[in-house]
Every structure is written in C-alpha cells, then in structure tokens.
C-alpha cells in the first residue's frame, strides 16, 4: 500500500505543471472539506431547529443529497496526486528501475481509460438532467450542477493521470531513480519522524 507519498519537484515544465495543478487540487479538496462542515452545520440547524423552534431546515434531505457527492468527488484528483487511492503493491513494490515504472505506467493507463469512459457517462448523465430540467422533490433544486461537479472532477483526474503517465513514461525512458510529478514512497525514517512530530501540540496540551 502506498498512500502517504512524497512527490519530487524540479524546474522542468512537467514539475511546474504538477505544482500548479496541485495548488488547484488542494483548494478543491479544502472546498470538499468545507462541504463536510456545511453538511454538519445544516444537520445541526435541522435538529436544533426542529426540536427547539419547531422549524426544521426546509428541504434538508434534498440539500444533503446535493452535498454528499460534492464531498465524495472534490478530492479525487488531490488523492491521486498523493497516491492516496487504495492499492496493493505486492508486485510493484518488488520491482526496481524501469520495470517498476512500466508497472506504474500500466496501472495509470488502466485508470486513464476508465476515467475517460466514466467521464463520458457522467457528462451524459449531467447533460440529460440539464436538458430535462431535473429537480429534487423538495425545494426543486436543479440536480445538474452537482452532476456537473462530478464531470469536472473527472476532468481534473484525467489531467492528473495524463501528467503521471507522462512522468512514468519519462522515467521509463531515462531510467531515473527519482522521477518528478509522480508519487514516491518516502524514506521510512523520514516518515516516522514526521509522524512523531504530528503526535504533539494540542493533544499534549489536553493532558496538562
């Protein structure tokens, strides 16, 4: 499994593009996190409003149905950049050099083909909702904007996958050990040190 990774950078156009895309992906993921917080606040307003003021949030379920896919998709490309999507690395972990980059290249290619296929299906789903004027039962919220969020995030994912495909392709060609713009497993000692630093601050404060 590889999910916490380090991505090497340099001054190449590939690395610059990677960092520029990552800056956007990070903001989108934060937006996804804010959507989680919004869902939390709306749910709190709904329960307190209903019990204390006899005034639940109108169309609460419809609103939640619109928010959940946003939470589910805004981080998809960010997650891929950091190598966060779940995988087994029994075989690839044992490979070295060009063979390893070839295995990674094939894996990314499969993901790219699938993402292209799902992009087509998802945009068809969104366009049909737009054409038919599909709305939620409560409040009559148009469903196409959220369906379009899924489409847009597949575009970001495809961009990210193209970039990683290029990165692994270049690594296959040059045989370099530390290719840029692709997730690399950090040195174990460095990761352990970072983890130890994480377990501190507020938790320690809480015990005082």
């Amino acid at each position: 499994m590889s999910s916490a990774h380090n991505v090497h950078t340099d001054g190449s156009w590939l690395s610059r593009f990677d960092r520029a895309l990552f800056a956007i992906e990070t903001k989108l993921t934060l937006l996804g996190g804010l959507a989680v917080m919004a869902a939390m606040l709306i749910s709190v307003a709904n329960i307190l409003g209903r019990k204390l003021l006899n005034m639940p949030v109108p169309g609460y379920v419809a609103i939640m149905q619109q928010i959940v896919p946003v939470m589910a998709f805004l981080g998809i490309s960010y997650c891929q950049r950091l190598g966060g999507h779940i995988r087994m690395d029994l075989v690839t972990g044992a490979l070295r050099g060009r063979w390893r980059w070839l295995a990674e290249f094939i894996g990314i290619l499969v993901m790219l083909i699938l993402s292209g296929a799902l992009f087509y299906g998802a945009q068809n789903h969104a366009m049909r909702a737009l054409m038919l004027g599909d709305t939620t039962d409560d409040l009559g919220i148009h469903t196409w904007p959220v369906k379009m969020v899924v489409v847009v995030m597949f575009v970001f994912l495809i961009l990210r996958l193209f970039l990683q495909l290029w990165g692994y392709g270049r690594a296959m060609q040059t045989g370099e050990e530390m290719p840029v713009a692709v997730p690399m497993i950090e040195d174990a000692a460095t990761q352990a040190l970072n983890e130890a630093k994480t377990v501190s601050s507020l938790d320690e404060e809480a015990l005082k």
């Binding site: 996190g33 995988r87 087994m88 015990l207």
Partner: protein
C-alpha cells in the same frame, strides 16, 4: 462460456489487476464495465458499438447516483469527528487514560489501544477513521516502548473495526435500510457485541504477550493519583457519547443529525482548546481526502456489483442455498463462510449491499419466515429478532473484511499512515484478531441473547 463462467473469469482478472498495483476502486469499476459490455453483447445481442454506448451511459451515472444519498452523509461527518477529536485532544486523552489504567497488563499498550478505540468508536462510527487516528497516536508510543512493529500495527487495525458494531455505526444503518429494519434497535443491538469483541481482543492480547513478552512489555509505574488525574481530560468524550446516544435512542434525531451534533460539539471543544484555521483547514483537507478515498471505493465497487447483478450471481447463490438439504445452522455457517471469502476481495459496504438482498431473505427463510414465533423457529428467534441478530453477525463478518487481505481497508489505512510498516506486516499483525473475531461470531451464534437483550428492552 456461460454468463456465470464469464463473471468468475472476470473476477480472476480483477484479482490480477489488484495484484499488479492498479488502484482497487478503479480495477473493480474497470472489470464491472468490461463485464457489462460483454453481457450486453452476449446476452442482449447488441453490436459492440451499441453495447459500449449503453454500458458507458449506465456505469457513468453510478458515481453520482450512488453517492447522492442522505444516509451516506453520515460517513464524512464521522470522519470529521475523528480528525477534530484529535485536535480537541480527545483521542490522545482517552488513550493516555487507558494506558495508565490497563497498561500494567502484559501487552498493556495493546489492551489500552483496544479499549481506547472502543471508547472512540462510541464517538466515531467510521472504522477506517478510527484506525487512521489511532495509527497516528498509539503506534509511535508502542514502537517507542519497544513493541513489535507488526503486533502494534495489527492491534490498531483490529481495534478500528470495533467502530462497525459499537453505536453509532454507519454499516448497521445501511443494513437497516436495505432490510427495512429498525435503525434504533439495530444500533442498540450492536452495543454489547461490540463490548464483547473488545474484551475478547484484550484477553487475546494479554495471552499473546504473556506467551511472548517481546511482543509488548507492560507499562508500570503509574500511581493511583496519576491514574485518576488522567480521567478529567478524557471526560469530554463521555459528554459527546451521551449527546450522540441520547439523540439516537431518545429519538431526538437521525444518526446523521446525531453525528453532526457530536461533530459540532467536538469542533467547539477543538476551537476552545486553541485550534487555529491552519489546523482546521488541515483537518478538513484530511477529512475530504479520506472521504474521497472511501467513496471512490464505494462507487467503484458498486459498478462491479451492478455487473454481478446482471450476471445473476446473487440469484444463483440463493438457488444454491435453497437447494441444500441440511440443518439450518449448518447452512448459516456456510453463508458466513462465503462472507469470509467475499470479504477478502470486497469492500464491507459493497459486500453487504451486494449480498444482503440474497442472504437476508435466505436467513429469514431458514429461521421459518418473518412472522415466525420464537418457539416455532428453527434458530430459536422470532422473525424480527432473527433480522436484528443476523444484522449484527453479518456486520461482524464485514469487520473481518477490514483486516483480511488483499483489500482489508483498515490495514491499508494503518500502512498508509505509517509507511514504515508495510501492508503485508499489518495484515500479518492483524491475523490473530481474525481468530478472535471467529470466536466472537461463535459466541454470538451460541448465545443470541447477547445481541437481543438490549433491543428487546425498547
């Protein structure tokens, strides 16, 4: 080739893709789409172009339609609680208290981890989040004290599974919705089995550490005053637990609302303890990342599940079960055996969503039907009791998925948080807990009263 044979062949290709490192969610979705494409050509007689078009339109709507669910909103909210509770100092505080109170036992830090994950599970309903949070907190301390790396990672991965049973549990809510059962009774039914699981884990850890002291030395030297001093910091977790339990059991709100209220309280605590925007945005990004990871698994698996439905695998399984001439309990054990095998390859939620439409009616029928009385039934439970009892058993089986290779999510998350520990090591470390879970399932089958006592009080 028959449709079933093609489905079995494609399942083999899926295993191959996963083994060569293709991301699991994308591998399952890819095989699902390929299977649907073949199905439309061979079974529906479509030409390849038309079959591809229909497949893409159908599968392309699954990522949105399967995530646009109010119930699934529970998952990110509980993930957020997990991260906020970390910043609020709750996780570290409960771990510290558990360490001071039970650390003196052989493998004491492991026992402390199990009890603190059980306590944290009562705040966070997400197994994966629990494992992620405790991998950050418990593993560094255990390693610093000389604990075996595999053992420490296995304890955290297994401890995280307790969140599946101890209320509020997202999986139990999904079970209730699929089987049209009572959410309140199911959540209440999970409480004692969750506690029993924790005790069995703890007993096993003590036994292992006694036999091999190198696994984990006891932590001694805490005075009684130091033990009591650790309690006030852990007390807020009880407050949050009380809020969530009261909301659900008092009928105040839905599980999602209860979780949201808990998250809100934890957020307020974290802010009170000085959490800054940088920390909050970090928690939000981590929550969104983990949410995406889990939801991607869900929709990826559900595309595959849709194909399995086309291939009629569920009905084939039902016919197989119905055709068996043997005692009901033996058939039940066979079903559970199938869950163990399925759980090795499928996500827990995907597995439940796929199988319950088949296994739930099969088990209810085995017991004598939904209207059967306790006296007339073959398993000694009324129809409704059997539904609740099977829910707890099947969720316990789903817990097994979280720590069994090749796609046990908790093990991947622990390895993800601790890249210095390979996923293979986490799986090896968690394997004794698989045995403990089998023992727990045996206890719950032999004594259904453990499950049914609390819900029968409602």
């Amino acid at each position: 080739m028959t449709t079933i044979e093609i489905a079995i062949l494609l399942s083999g290709v899926l295993v191959l893709l996963v083994l060569i490192g293709v991301r699991v969610a994308f591998a399952t979705a890819m095989i699902g789409i390929t299977g649907m494409f073949i199905f439309y050509m061979t079974e529906k007689g479509m030409d390849p172009g038309r079959a591809m078009l229909v497949t893409l339109k159908l599968s392309g709507q699954i990522p949105h339609s399967k995530t646009a669910s109010h119930v699934l909103g529970l998952i990110p909210v509980f993930i957020l609680i997990g991260y906020l509770a970390y910043f609020a100092g709750l996780t570290k505080a409960i771990f510290e208290a558990a360490k001071r109170w039970v650390g003196w036992l052989p493998g004491g830090m492991g026992v402390a981890t199990i009890f603190s994950t059980a306590g944290f599970a009562a705040v966070s309903g997400a197994s994966v989040a629990t494992s992620a949070v405790f991998a950050r907190i418990a593993i560094p301390e255990m390693l610093a004290l000389g604990y075996d790396k595999r053992f420490a990672a296995g304890v955290v991965a297994a401890g995280g599974t307790l969140a599946s049973l101890i209320p509020p549990s997202a999986i139990l809510v999904i079970y209730a919705i699929i089987t049209e059962g009572s959410v309140g009774k199911l959540l209440m039914a999970g409480f004692i089995p969750g506690a029993v699981s924790a005790v069995i884990y703890a007993v096993m850890i003590v036994g292992m550490a006694k036999r091999n002291p190198k696994l984990g030395p006891p932590v001694t030297g805490y005075s009684w005053s130091e033990r009591f001093a650790s309690l006030p910091a852990a007390a807020p977790i009880l407050f949050v637990v009380a809020i969530i339990m009261y909301c659900i059991y008092g009928g105040w709100g839905t599980p999602t609302e209860a979780g949201a209220l808990g998250a809100f309280v934890v957020l307020c605590m974290a802010l009170y303890r000085g959490m800054r925007w940088k920390d909050l945005s970090g928690a939000l990004i981590e929550s969104a990342k983990l949410t995406t990871m889990i939801f991607t698994m869900i929709w990826g698996v559900l595309i595959f599940v849709r194909y399995l439905g086309f291939a009629d695998l569920p009905n084939t399984f039902a016919a197989f079960i119905a055709g068996l001439h043997q005692p009901a309990i033996l058939t039940l054990l066979i079903i559970l055996g199938v869950y163990v095998i399925l759980g090795m390859f499928m996500d827990a939620i995907g597995m439940l969503i796929l199988t319950l439409p088949v296994t739930y009616p099969a088990v209810i029928a085995l017991n004598g039907g939904i209207d059967i009385t306790r006296e007339a039934s073959s398993l000694g439970m009324s129809g409704e009791e059997c539904g609740i009892w099977f829910g707890i058993i099947v969720v316990k089986m789903a817990e097994l998925c979280l720590i069994t290779p090749p796609i046990g999510l908790n093990c991947f998350v622990v390895a993800g948080v601790r890249p210095d520990i390979s996923v293979q090591d986490v799986f090896r470390g968690a394997s004794p807990f698989f045995v403990a879970d089998v023992v727990t399932v045996g206890v719950l089958i032999a004594f259904p009263g453990i499950v049914l006592w609390l819900p029968n009080l409602l």
